[in-house]
């Protein structure tokens, strides 16, 4: 079976700044891949290139075995309609939630099925309720985003992405904008999806979460994949100096296991 996603020599530059310097990656169906790296290492940019929120400067992206775009004289050209169709099959969750403030939680979740997939009213309603329940917020269906906590907003945003029943979910620092006490509920939701077998590509700073949930961890440095492997290989027994420095920085202050019950 072909991988859901295959990146070949992905490059991305902003003006003269080269952010991605050639990324090769395959993501298998049901795999959970966590991207780690210092800020500026290109992990968010990489994620944003995958659903073409940013246009890659060079390289190829294959989705479900098919090349996205058409290759001409060694350059890939993209049509906006094709990218729009592709984005409907790729879910994305943002750091800033970006819920639609003029719609209720339920309307937010139904918006994709309604406007993009043109599902009938019953199917929209079904999907809306199903995925809102899945993130545990069925009881908040009729609340507007401003009435929800950050953690709840982010869970609605996850439900909104899930309602498109995408083949892969991208998480771009989904918990970075949250107060510490709200991080847990969002990570729980993501973990639940991972256990269900969703294909996920996750950018995060939560190393403990990465260790628990990831099938594979990638460490990005200066626009390249510096190291990859199982969580234990990368996070416990790192080989590269860059990875070691990064992990050392994260482990400077550590709590002894809190005794809570």
């Amino acid at each position: 079976m072909s991988p859901v996603l295959r990146l070949e020599g992905l490059h991305k530059s902003f003006d003269n700044l080269e952010v991605l310097k050639g990324i090769d990656l395959e993501v298998a169906r049901g795999e959970v891949v966590v991207l780690l790296g210092a800020s500026g290492s290109g992990k968010s940019t990489m994620l944003r290139c995958i659903n073409f929120m940013e246009m890659p400067t060079a390289g190829r992206i294959h989705f479900d075995g098919d090349l996205v775009g058409r290759e001409r004289n060694g350059r890939v050209q993209y049509k906006e309609e094709e990218l729009t169709r592709l984005r409907a099959r790729v879910g994305m969750v943002f750091q800033q939630f970006n819920l639609f403030p003029h719609m209720t939680a339920l309307q937010n979740v139904m918006e994709g099925p309604r406007t993009v997939l043109r599902c009938d009213a019953r199917e929209c309603q079904r999907r809306g309720e199903t995925y809102l329940n899945k993130v545990g917020l069925g009881w908040k269906a009729n609340d507007y985003p401003a009435r929800l906590s950050g953690g709840q907003q982010q869970r609605v945003a996850i439900a909104r992405a899930l309602a498109m029943e995408p083949e892969i979910m991208l998480f771009d620092e989904a918990t970075s904008a949250l107060d510490p006490e709200l991080v847990g509920e969002v990570l729980e939701t993501m973990k639940g999806l991972a256990e269900e077998g969703k294909t996920m590509l996750i950018v995060t700073h939560e190393l403990g979460f990465a260790y628990t949930v990831a099938d594979r961890v990638l460490f990005l440095s200066e626009g390249r994949i510096l190291e990859q492997g199982t969580p234990s290989e990368v996070l416990t027994y790192p080989k590269q100096q860059g990875t070691k420095n990064f992990l050392r920085g994260h482990g400077t202050f550590r709590l002894p296991e809190p005794q809570i019950d």
Binding site: G91, N98, T115
Partner: protein, 226 residues
């Protein structure tokens, strides 16, 4: 000395003033009816058109905003009929002028409103596979329009005041009626006092409504609608 006020003479012709007010509202209302959608259209062309469309749209908007309304009115009333060989009555010339003139201002209100929406809203819509038109229709405009309402009503009031210019091409608006009553009764002071009061009542009521609405919107919070 002392001027002897006499409103009775003038009030006998109040139905004429009333007709004038109705005509003023008619010109204002119809100009809004055409000007607002046209303004949205121009704003979209200016924002999202390719340059052969964007630049002319920007030019039209700026031209209409920077030329005196009375010059535009005269052009449509006196010049255009010569060019196209068709007589244009004062009413049509007025509607034509003020629809176009206000559309330029509304275009800028729309543009400001649309640009005030965070880029994250565009990205979120894009990420679930919405195209630009769907995003504008479902996500951006509903939020932008809400933010635009005060600026929008401000422009509508401005428009109503500007429509007094139609009296110069003999359209029987409130100012024109006042003027003709003044000329027949010689009660200039009384007539224009009453006319001013009528403008004041209508426009002041509108501004109070705007302030109420602004307060209501502020209370309901930028992020909540309903």
């Amino acid at each position: 000395m002392g001027y002897e006020w006499d409103f009775a003479i003038v009030l006998r012709d109040f139905d004429l003033l009333w007709l004038g007010l109705v005509n003023t509202l008619k010109v204002t209302g119809l100009s809004l009816l055409f000007g607002v959608p046209l303004g949205l259209f121009l704003a979209l062309l200016r924002l999202y058109g390719r340059w052969p469309i964007r630049l002319p749209a920007a030019f039209v908007i700026e031209f209409l905003r920077t030329t005196p309304p009375i010059a535009q009115l005269f052009w449509f009333f006196f010049a255009l009929p010569i060019l196209i060989g068709v007589e244009i009555d004062p009413f049509r010339a007025s509607i034509l002028t003020f629809s176009l003139q206000s559309s330029a201002f509304f275009a800028e209100v729309f543009r400001g409103g649309i640009q005030s929406i965070e880029v994250g809203q565009w990205e979120a819509a894009k990420a679930i596979g919405m195209n630009r038109n769907q995003t504008l229709r479902r996500i951006i405009l509903p939020q932008a329009v809400k933010r635009m309402i005060p600026a929008f009503l401000e422009r509508a009031i401005e428009l109503m005041k500007t429509t007094t210019l139609v009296s110069t091409i003999s359209y029987a608006d409130l100012l024109y009626q006042a003027n003709s009553i003044a000329q027949s009764t010689f009660r200039t002071i009384e007539v224009f006092t009453i006319a001013a009061a009528m403008y004041f009542v209508v426009i002041f009521a509108c501004s109070v409504a705007i302030r109420r609405l602004e307060k209501h919107l502020a209370r309901s919070g930028e992020t909540i609608v309903h």
